[in-house]
């Protein structure tokens, strides 16, 4: 089996327009959640989100590109440019043929859908722009990355709600580990902060009107975010031979299904997935220094996840750190695992563990070290990154310091 390392990372999200800004915000425990600036926000019951602000598509893309790139594709391309530039790779000949793109995304071009439904239903028009379909399809981002960087290997999009990015990165890891691919561009994106996207979530009555406070006894729900994070996964010998800077090693992955309930999480299966990821990575629970939690800030997720961590890691659960960065950037749904992986690589590479901000009151059902409010310096050798999606789909990654 081949070893898999990360040689590039890029992002745009509510905390920053690139990786350095995002990591600085995570170190500072900055909150990217604020009042939504979207059309018809006055008709929403939930008016906050982790929105990317001060971003001007016209300064990044030309008119022809914007006609084809939904906001989730724009976020993906900006992140991919940063990640691939850092890796120093260019894709020609055999390397291009053996390199692909697998991305996580849940909603596809939600802004494109919203805008065009308005056109036909609200404005009563009978004509839409010819590019609506290629713009909104949720593989559009993966395809545009493949086109911009000449990636001709396996390329597709994974949609497993809140676990999409973890599932995608797990596939990228498998492709390289098995020898099917040399380099995979992976991660995910989401741009669901439009009227229809927020209105749909409102219906479930699990959203907070004021803040995302994971693990805190007074938590009152999740807050949506938007953005992307993209990583360059590369076969270790290939990276070493060209003298690439290695950010971290991906050492294991596991995925399971609860086969039980469409929205309620399962402690038993969350624990089983973490155990399988550790087994795949050939590590013992005692080696895990940090877990990036799914940590949505809902009553149901956080207590279930903490109980699952206690089950999967045993006594060591009390000695490790676990935090939810959703408190800062919000829940990016299909893109969330990717942005959260940045907190994992920061812990491994820089020895800084991102905090769970907004933490106000201890909850006896979440009695772990959740790194409340302030980032912490610590040497971390192994991390897990959890994602437990609606639909009962679980995906956990394991990474190691290099």
């Amino acid at each position: 089996m081949k070893r898999v390392v990360i040689t590039g990372q890029g992002t745009i999200n509510a905390l920053g327009t690139n990786v350095p800004e995002t990591l600085e915000a995570m170190r500072e425990g900055k909150c990217g959640i604020g009042p939504l600036e979207i059309r018809d926000v006055d008709r929403l019951a939930i008016q906050i989100g982790g929105q990317v602000k001060g971003y001007d598509p016209d300064s990044e893309f030309n008119r022809q590109q914007i006609a084809l790139y939904d906001r989730f594709t724009q976020f993906t391309l900006l992140s991919a440019r940063e990640a691939i530039a850092q890796s120093g790779l260019s894709f020609e000949g055999d390397l291009a043929a053996r390199s692909g793109v697998v991305l996580g995304n849940s909603g596809g071009g939600m802004n494109t859908l919203d805008d065009n439904y308005r056109t036909v239903y609200e404005d009563g028009k009978n004509r839409v722009h010819p590019f609506v379909v290629p713009k909104l399809m949720n593989n559009a981002a993966a395809s545009h990355v493949s086109m911009e960087f000449n990636l001709k290997g396996p390329t597709f999009t994974v949609a497993t709600a809140c676990a999409s990015s973890n599932h995608a990165m797990g596939q990228a890891f498998y492709f390289i580990r098995s020898g099917m691919a040399e380099v995979m561009i992976t991660g995910g994106s989401e741009a669901m902060l439009c009227f229809g996207g927020v209105k749909a979530w409102e219906g479930l009555r699990v959203m907070s009107k004021d803040a995302c406070r994971p693990f805190s006894a007074n938590r009152n729900g999740m807050v949506q975010g938007e953005g992307a994070a993209i990583f360059v996964f590369e076969e270790y010998e290939h990276a070493k031979a060209r003298g690439a800077e290695i950010i971290a090693e991906v050492i294991g992955f596991a995925m399971t299904s609860d086969a039980a309930d469409i929205v309620m999480p399962s402690k038993q299966n969350a624990a089983r997935t973490m155990t399988l990821a550790m087994k795949d990575a050939r590590i013992r629970p005692e080696e895990v220094g940090y877990i990036n939690a799914h940590g949505t800030g809902t009553a149901a997720n956080d207590k279930t996840e903490c109980a699952a961590v206690a089950d999967a890691l045993g006594h060591h659960a009390n000695d490790l750190m676990i935090s939810s960065t959703k408190s800062m950037h919000g829940h990016l749904i299909g893109g969330t695992g990717a942005v959260e992986l940045l907190a994992c690589t920061m812990a491994l590479k820089d020895g800084i563990v991102a905090p769970t901000i907004g933490y106000e009151e201890p909850d006896p059902e979440c009695a772990l070290d959740v790194v409340p409010n302030v980032a912490r310096e610590a040497r971390v050798d192994v991390v897990l990154s959890n994602a437990f999606a609606f639909g009962g789909l679980n995906a956990v990654l394991a990474l190691r310091r290099v």
Partner: protein
Amino acid sequence: MAESVKDQVIAIIAEQAVLEPGDVKLDSTLEDLGIDSLGLVESIFAIEEAFDISVPFNANEPEQSEFDISSVAAIITAVEGLVAEQSGS
């Protein structure tokens, strides 16, 4: 003649619980009736639509919501209050 709030709420809960309205007792809890968290948010949605009201309810803190869901009778009282408060708005 218009149905009373009580009868309409009971009809909504009965439909969600797959019971006859006559089998929904005023002192029943939603749990007694086999209504889970998804069934609850669906019932609240049906109540909002039936009475054209907005029900303040967050599934993360049901006990802190102004909307009392502790029994069928409590829900009827809460809906009557909201209808009185929000009618004509």
